[in-house]
């Protein structure tokens, strides 16, 4: 008996692609409403199919999915796409395992919410059909990414999500800022993907395969696969201890692959594109730059986790350090920003870094790799509440037509639904029980403390900052003082139902998601694990969060000069944080001053003047020579005859002397 009808997974991928083509090609001929509802219905169908698939995987108990204790990896289909040589083949397939099934829930859920929400948010925009087509393209690519059966399929869809992200960030293509943001996003991630690609090349050269099932798992009796440390060790030993620049090549491969993840997940120092990406429409930010695409890096590391575990954890340490630095950096910067979307963007960076750290500190011998589970749990809850926050921010922007929270304040009276849902989001991200963020973050902190006290303390500090800046944001928007709204055509008010319904839904999920028994569903090797709240970690972290919230309340609830005084007191630090520690300027310097002016221009000059000059030089010499010998053809008959006679004489002399 086939555990699942393969048509359903196929449809999950095929439907958004078809929708993309239909909307892309026929969209201009459709009305906005038709195109929008077509998109929503398409995504709704995908949602139902994905839920069905995920639930079948988790709860059907089919022996292809679980051997009674551990969850297994199951390949629904796997089609050859491009064969390099006998063994090395890129396939396009569909892999069901705990994390891909989880993503099959996350992506369509958020995507559907965004589709619905955009019906209201994007109403009347030019290029509405195009927008929906791109959303479908993105959903297709993202789904393809998470169900990848091999690392190259992942790379393929990895590129595709990058491209659709580019298209969506640059949706308002007539705005300079949007265009340059989209360009930046694409190029930065592309640079990261270069590392990913080289990593794949190294890995595949030594192991001779792209398939996850051959890298990390072993086949079981009924044709499914189970995570196997032996296989992973086989992959590791196929490198034969090769080293490069003093580091083992295996670590290099993993670090390079992780570099791709750093780009997509906006880890330092490749994070600069994400805040700018907020130039895209807000629902896009919610979908791509908060909930789904940016966690692809986390997903990638999780996917190759058994490999990361080998090699004395050096690659994992790298992940941890990068994640920890990024988390702290982004949290600090978020405290100073005034653009609400940017605050959310930095908060996203910080939260993703949380997940990275969780993966980095995970060890199979400590609570069955609890960090891994925590990371995935946080990925799930974060997707929900961050999408909620972004969509809420979208509703606010929709209402006051500004991203800047100096233009907001006191909105709780005008937009009650938005207010409540936003508050739920804030509480969730701050880690207040019983909201979902509390549970997942607590797991992460526990895992960090288990690994070492330093990482635990560091992450607790970041968690405190998180609570602080989120509530700073919340108070600045909904409390503080009320600016003069009479300049607008109408007072701000709650959005239409298509926009509030997703908010309410996501808020509800954020409230209850923490109670999902995640440890039974998603663990690194499929073995179930029961989560125990570690009160020694949970209670202090809740206290810290509450203190941070209290501080935020004290500073920002009512209009007062305190924040300005704090800003003045911290002086340069505040300015630096406000300017994101000048990372953009550094990049601008490197790209423009060094790469453009010191590499590209000299090369172009060299080409035009030296290489081309040499070629022209040959032509010039030839021309000069012909001008020099042109007088020989003077047209003077007597001269010709003289030459002729001289020649004949010469021949005569030669003949006379040498021949006779």
């Amino acid at each position: 008996m086939t555990p699942i009808n393969p048509t359903i997974p196929l449809l999950i991928l095929a439907l958004p692609l078809t929708m993309f083509l239909v909307l892309g090609l026929l969209g201009p001929k459709m009305s906005h409403k038709a195109a929008g509802w077509l998109g929503v219905c398409g995504m709704g169908t995908v949602l139902i199919l994905s839920y069905f698939t995920a639930f079948t995987y988790f709860f059907s108990g089919n022996e292809a999915f679980t051997d009674g204790v551990n969850r297994l990896q199951y390949i629904v289909f796997n089609q050859d796409w491009l064969q390099f040589y006998d063994k090395l083949v890129i396939r396009i397939g569909f892999l069901l395992d705990p994390i891909s099934a989880m993503m099959l829930v996350v992506i369509p859920t958020i995507s559907f919410c965004v589709h619905l929400y955009s019906m209201g948010y994007m109403e009347g925009e030019r290029g509405f059909q195009r927008y929906y087509a791109f959303l479908q393209l993105f959903s297709f690519s993202m789904l393809g990414l998470v169900v990848a059966t091999n690392i190259f399929q992942m790379y393929i869809f990895w590129e595709l999500v990058g491209a659709s992200s580019f298209l969506l960030i640059g949706f308002y293509y007539q705005r300079h800022s949007a265009v340059s943001a989209s360009k930046k996003a694409f190029i930065v991630t592309r640079f990261a993907d270069l590392g990913f690609l080289i990593g794949i090349l190294v890995l595949s050269y030594y192991t001779g395969t792209f398939n996850f099932t051959e890298l990390t798992s072993a086949v079981t009796a009924n044709g499914s696969y189970a995570i196997s440390e032996t296989t992973a060790f086989g992959a590791f030993s196929s490198f034969g201890g090769a080293t490069f620049m003093g580091c083992s090549l295996f670590s290099w491969a993993l670090v390079l692959i992780f570099m791709g993840g750093m780009g997509k997940s906006a880890m330092m120092p490749l994070h600069i594109w994400l805040p700018d990406a907020m130039e895209g429409p807000t629902p896009v930010s919610a979908l791509i730059h908060a909930a789904t695409m940016v966690v692809a890096g986390v997903y990638l590391v999780a996917r190759l986790f058994p490999l990361f575990l080998l090699d004395d954890f050096s690659a994992l340490t790298f992940v941890t350090v990068i994640g920890a630095i990024t988390a702290f950096y982004a949290a600090v910067v978020a405290c100073t920003q005034v653009d609400i979307k940017r605050v959310l963007a930095f908060s996203t960076i910080s939260q993703i870094a949380f997940m990275m750290v969780a993966l980095g500190v995970a060890r199979p011998d400590i609570h069955h790799g609890m960090g891994y589970m925590a990371s995935m749990f946080h990925l799930f809850t974060h997707a929900m509440f961050k999408a909620l926050l972004f969509l809420g921010a979208g509703a606010l922007i929709h209402a006051v037509h500004s991203n800047d929270y100096t233009a907001m304040g006191g909105l709780r009276k005008y937009m009650p639904i938005t207010h409540i849902t936003f508050l739920i989001g804030c509480l969730a991200i701050a880690g207040i029980p019983p909201f979902s963020g509390f549970f997942s973050k607590d797991e992460i902190l526990t895992a960090a403390y288990e690994n070492s006290f330093f990482w635990g303390a560091w992450m607790s500090m970041v968690a405190a900052l998180t609570a602080f800046y989120m509530f700073r944001l919340y108070y600045m928007i909904f409390w503080w003082n009320e600016p003069d709204y009479s300049a607008h055509h109408h007072k701000p008010h709650d959005a239409p139902w298509v926009m509030t319904a997703p908010l309410v839904f996501l808020a509800a999920v954020s409230c209850v998601a923490g109670f999902i028994p995640f440890g039974h569903l998603v663990t690194w090797n499929g073995a179930p694990y029961t989560i125990h709240l570690d009160w020694s970690v949970a209670i202090p972290s809740v206290i810290i969060a509450v203190c941070a919230i209290a501080l935020a309340t004290f500073m920002y609830k009512k209009e007062n000069p305190l924040p300005d005084r704090v800003a003045k007191a911290t002086g340069k630090l505040w300015t630096a944080a406000y300017n994101r520690f000048y990372w953009d300027e550094i990049y601008l310097f490197i790209t423009h001053k060094i790469i453009f002016n010191c590499i590209c221009r000299p090369i172009a000059w060299f080409d035009r003047h030296i290489i081309d000059g040499t070629m022209d030089g040959f032509a010039w010499v030839a021309q000069r020579l012909s001008i020099a010998i042109r007088p020989l053809q003077s047209g003077n008959v007597q001269y010709y005859v003289w030459v002729y006679i001289s020649g004949a004489l010469l021949l005569g002399v030669v003949t006379a002397f040498f021949m006779i």
Binding site: W642, I645, S646, L649, G652, V653, A656, I660
Partner: protein, 166 residues
């Protein structure tokens, strides 16, 4: 015979030199005429009477007259001849002397082969010549003869075309 040869040789040498050195072009033509006559005598001495006759008729009678006419047409009588630049003349003399030296040296170096007497031969009659001219067998000149006639025809037409007043 020897005396005749000396006279003819001297005439050829002197008139040749005069032809190219005469300042006035009409005189050049006249000296050319004398050279051609002397050449005709050489042909007679070789027993080629017909060739000598042709030389006189075509060259002396035809070409030189043509020259004279054209000279008269293109220059005013009594006009002082051209002056030669000394550089050009020097070059000419140098070349001519070089030619003379080289070929003279060749001749001298072949002295033994060239110092042969004139052999005695039978008479080459006009009938034989005419037959050879129109014969296609070995020693016959039918094809060149026809070619020359075509050439002359072309020349006549060409002359007419070129000289026609447009």
């Amino acid at each position: 015979m020897e005396i005749l040869f000396v006279v003819v040789a001297l005439a050829i040498i002197i008139f040749s030199v005069l032809t190219v050195t005469a300042r006035r072009i009409l005189r050049s033509a006249t000296y050319l005429l004398f050279t051609l006559f002397a050449t005709a005598i050489v042909y007679f001495m070789m027993d080629y009477e017909f060739l000598g006759a042709v030389q006189i008729a075509v060259y002396a009678g035809g070409i030189v007259v043509l020259f004279v006419f054209s000279i008269l047409l293109t220059s005013r009588p009594g006009e002082a001849g051209e002056r030669l630049e000394s550089r050009r003349r020097g070059l000419g003399i140098l070349t001519a002397v070089a030619v003379a030296t080289v070929f003279g040296w060749v001749l001298v170096s072949r002295c033994s082969q060239l110092l042969v007497p004139q052999p005695e031969t039978g008479l080459y009659t006009m009938q034989q010549l005419g037959a050879d001219m129109l014969s296609t067998s070995r020693g016959g000149y039918m094809l060149p003869f026809e070619a020359v006639s075509v050439l002359l025809l072309a020349c006549i037409i060409g002359g007419v075309v070129v000289a026609r007043r447009r």
